[in-house]
Symmetry: C2
Amino acid sequence: MGTPRLIPSRNELAKAQDEFIGAWGQMGSLWGISRTMAEIHALLYITGQPLNTDEVMDRLQVSRGNASMSLRALVDWGIVTKVHKRGDRKEYFEAEQDVWAMSRKVIRERLRREIHPVLASLFEIRDETANLAAFADTPRATVEAHNRRLDTLLDLVQMVDRLGERFVGSEGKGLKLAASVLAKIP
Amino acid sequence: MGTPRLIPSRNELAKAQDEFIGAWGQMGSLWGISRTMAEIHALLYITGQPLNTDEVMDRLQVSRGNASMSLRALVDWGIVTKVHKRGDRKEYFEAEQDVWAMSRKVIRERLRREIHPVLASLFEIRDETANLAAFADTPRATVEAHNRRLDTLLDLVQMVDRLGERFVGSEGKGLKLAASVLAKIP
DNA sequence: CCGTAGTTTCAAATAGTTTTGAAAATCCAG
DNA sequence: CTGGATTTTCAAAACTATTTGAAACTACGG
């Protein structure tokens, strides 16, 4: 039944890879990277082999420019590394295979890009509002309530930041440890 | 010195609120909501009062349609609720003031929208590839390595999902508890 | 019922992001 | 050096997401 298959297993494996790439691509937004970046990462991860720019282009049907920029961004995030192959002038790219290390890098990068700036802004705003009661012809209680709400949120964000830094800080085990501790709670 | 200020403290408070709204708006991507949604939420949270659609429109300079849709989305996420004011035909909206409850709702929503579908896809793919070794003219080892990588990632995502569900599951304390346990680790 | 205040919807416009492709820059073997 | 191979850059195009605004709808007091 169905279409004759000439090289069935190569096709089957590739098909499974493609589905994985598609699924992982959807997670792009969750990781905060573009769909293509996520797909390239998925491809490199699932094949487990270093691939060069042309192979990535061919497999995912993206332009050279896009492949180049996305690969560079993945290297910046630290979840893909360049490797040189002796006797080949092309650059090859390989995905981090340790999923814990990978998660750590993603979390760290998001802290750096998204939490830190917000935290800095919130601190600034808090400092500005601190000596605000002075001018006030706004009821003191109103200003105080504002400050309380701001501080509450600041504490939350700060806690996220501190936990993040703690369990993701450069060396190994932290994250896995945190996960297993949590898994054992009640 | 500088510009004369006629109603200084109202301006000062409003200015602080605006800065907060701007900062929180930037976190939109982190929460997975649009900038306007994040800003409306920030406004409702920081003022601490129920506001109606027109007040939101005026304060944030957005269209009626946008305000309406964004408010509805916030209600869907569960971090803003409608309130009726006696003797007023307008609908008012109020932000969840408990930041832990708020975080729980955001996390739950993101699990539901982003993790669950990916998890489902990964399971499907795994099932398809499980009986793949059969066809193989691809080296058995290659297929096995593929399956191993897929399973590793599946385990990771599944763990995230389970931890998420555990500590975010409808009732109270879970998340706060998890945070304090983590804060005491090493 | 009717008229009006209030809310929702949605097609079109705008803004923002990603992708392309070709030109420019870089790299390296000979 | 030189010339071809490879990679990077970036303006323009394609695509996606958000926002607008006005029309349709709903609810309610009179």
